[in-house]
């Protein structure tokens, strides 16, 4: 069907966890690696190729499909692979196995203010952030007045961003991302910061985006927002897709499960 926006099948992602050993730092240094090379090679030979680093599976066999124009909310406790899923879908990191097919241009808003540099002015940061998110310079120039109007920082365009209040900062960052105009929008908990007015503005913008027929995948911890904005929800727990369906039903199951101390998968 040509109405599919995202098709995910058996997506899995693992990380190798290095444990701190014997007072050595957790990060790797060339010096340590070179010196430890003979020891490691000997160990590898002895154990017949088995390495003892621990593997942590952030996503396990996740499969779902999102049609064009759908707004899907992803809920789950912290650390259950929601951000990892979005990172894979926006090609920042690669899956370990499985795959996904994307039909359309993707705009990812995983963090507010990516690319902002405190020393540059608001105007320069708009261009910087816009270019980072994938907009061409002419596109940014065309939408410049709208972006500034959405953020409401007319007077402060030429002051360095380090002087902005948090609210202004977050409004500007979201304003740039909101005017991205992608066919698929991936949003990751960016409403956690900002006051109510800002959250209203963001929700309104996302509702406009979805009304225009764009696909939105939205991670949130706020159940009211998910139930208001997303007709469909996906519940991820410990990297696995537990539930996928109308958001009211999924939220109900999630809230039920939250009351119990242990979740049976």
């Amino acid at each position: 069907m040509s109405d599919v926006a995202i098709a995910v099948k058996n997506l899995s992602k693992s990380f190798k966890i290095a444990h701190q050993r014997d007072g050595l730092p957790g990060y790797r240094t060339l010096r340590d690696d070179l010196i430890g090379l003979p020891q490691r090679m000997l160990a590898r030979w002895k154990r017949n190729g088995q390495l003892t680093s621990e593997t942590f599976w952030a996503l396990k066999d996740v499969s779902f499909e999102v049609k064009k124009g759908e707004v899907v909310g992803i809920i789950g406790r912290n650390g259950t692979g929601k951000s990892t899923l979005l990172k894979i879908l926006s090609r920042i990191t690669e899956p370990t196995s499985g795959g996904a097919d994307i039909y359309g241009r993707v705009g990812a808003l995983l963090e507010v203010g990516t690319g902002f540099h405190p020393e540059l002015t608001g105007r320069e940061n708009i261009f910087m952030n816009g270019a980072i998110l994938g907009m061409k310079r002419v596109e940014i120039r065309r939408k410049f007045t709208e972006i500034v109007a959405f953020a409401g920082i007319d007077k402060f365009l030429d002051t360095p961003v380090k002087r902005y209040s948090t609210g202004m900062y977050v409004r500007l960052a979201f304003a740039v991302a909101a005017h991205l105009d992608p066919e698929i929008l991936l949003v990751d908990e960016v409403l956690a910061v900002g006051d109510t007015e800002f959250q209203q503005k963001c929700l309104g913008k996302m509702r406009d985006v979805s009304a225009a027929g764009r696909t939105v995948i939205f991670i949130s911890h706020s159940m009211e927002v998910v139930s208001r904005l997303c007709p469909r929800a996906i519940w991820l727990h410990e990297g696995q897709l537990i539930s996928d369906g109308p958001s009211d039903a999924v939220i109900a199951k999630y809230s039920d499960a939250g009351d119990r101390s242990a979740i049976q998968t």
């Binding site: 069907m1 040509s2 599919v4 098709a7 995910v8 099948k9 899995s12 693992s14 990380f15 990060y27 790797r28 240094t29 060339l30 010096r31 088995q50 593997t55 599976w57 396990k60 066999d61 499909e65 990172k87 894979i88 879908l89 926006s90 090609r91 920042i92 990191t93 690669e94 899956p95 370990t96 196995s97 499985g98 795959g99 996904a100 097919d101 994307i102 039909y103 359309g104 241009r105 993707v106 990812a108 995983l110 963090e111 990516t114 690319g115 540099h117 020393e119 540059l120 320069e124 261009f127 910087m128 270019a131 980072i132 998110l133 994938g134 907009m135 061409k136 310079r137 696995q240 998968t265």
Partner: protein, 345 residues
């Protein structure tokens, strides 16, 4: 380049059997070539513990879309695990050229905003180094300078050298410095070191102006040979980019590479004829010496400015080949390492 046709395909399978990289695809930004789909190979999933609910399979993913009914419409992109060498993807770099330009602008502005002296600093750095070298190597050690005034002689070398050291230092840790960007946004990461080497060209132009001023002071007439300088600059950029890509990719995994880079730059300076002329090197060692691409550039500058040097077409060829080797090896290594950046940065 497209690897089609059976004789080349045979060659492929030979390579594959010997464990060498299976395919290197370079997508060029020509309208006629279609992007080749990456061919996935057998995936080896890391052995899992028995508690894991995942079924351990060794499966081959073909390049067909996941949904068979969607065959009419091709996905904009397919996300699959990749291993081994990756294509250079020049088309994507071209698509993001606006971002490259904006990164260059941003870093230029930042550099000038943050130093109190601004442009004066760019002028003074090589000049002060040249004066020190003139005193130490020219007067005290009395190194020969091919008949030219020592200050001018060493400044030619320093024009090239300042570009390399500045570009490498900034590009070497560009990925680590922009860790936030690397882990949160998708863009071709190759742009980050590339932006630094291109930004160095701006500083280089300023240093070049100083060189011209020095030429005027020493009454060395400018000749048509100066027109060759942009060509040298182009190859200098290629070399610097190649080495920068190596170091920036290594710095992501090994944080102590930034220290190694500083040491490397120092050693490299003394291995290049910045303070001494190449005529001091015995004839039979010169081709080996010319494996250092900086040799060709510095001698080229001296030829363009002073008019005489031992530069010959052989050495030039070696230099050009070495700069292309640096660039392509750096680019392929970087692209191969790029897939893991977001995870380990």
């Amino acid at each position: 380049m497209r690897f089609v046709g059976s004789p080349l395909r045979q060659l492929f399978f030979q390579f594959r059997a010997h464990g060498l990289p299976v395919e290197m695809q370079i997508a060029l930004p020509f309208k006629s070539s279609k992007p080749l789909a990456l061919r996935e190979r057998y995936l080896k999933i890391a052995p899992l513990s028995t508690e894991s609910p995942i079924v351990t399979t060794v499966a081959e993913l073909s390049a067909t879309p996941i949904r068979t009914q969607a065959r009419q419409q091709k996905p904009t992109f397919r996300i699959r695990p990749t291993t081994g060498w990756a294509a250079l993807n020049v088309r994507e770099l071209w698509k993001y050229r606006d971002l490259l330009w904006i990164l260059v602008e941003r870093d230029t502005k930042l550099l000038y905003k943050q130093t109190a002296l601004g442009v004066a600093w760019v002028v003074m750095q090589p000049l002060i180094a040249a004066i020190i070298f003139t005193v130490v190597f020219g007067r005290v050690a009395r190194l020969p300078s091919d008949g030219a005034p020592y200050l001018l002689f060493v400044f030619c070398g320093l024009t090239v050298w300042t570009y390399f050291s500045q570009a490498l230092q900034h590009a070497g840790n560009s990925l680590v410095r922009n860790a936030q960007l690397v882990s949160k946004v998708y863009f071709p990461k190759l742009l980050l070191p590339l932006a630094q080497t291109l930004r160095g060209v701006v500083d280089f132009t300023v240093t070049l102006v100083v060189l011209l001023v020095l030429m005027a002071i020493y009454r060395v007439p400018p000749t048509f040979r100066l027109a060759v300088l942009p060509v040298f600059l182009f190859f200098m950029t290629l070399t610097a980019t190649g080495v920068a890509l190596w170091f920036s990719a290594l710095s992501v995994k090994y944080r102590d590479c930034t220290h190694a880079l500083q040491y490397f730059i120092q050693v490299w300076m003394y291995a290049s004829p910045v303070v001494y002329p190449i005529s001091m090197i015995p004839e039979q060692w010169r081709p080996l010496f010319a494996l250092n691409p900086a040799v060709g550039f510095i001698e080229g500058f001296r030829w363009a400015v002073l008019g005489h040097s031992v530069l010959n077409p052989n050495l030039l060829c070696i230099t050009i080949v070495m700069s292309l080797v640096a660039l392509f090896s750096g680019a392929f290594f970087f692209r191969r390492a790029e897939r893991g950046f977001a995870d380990i940065i």
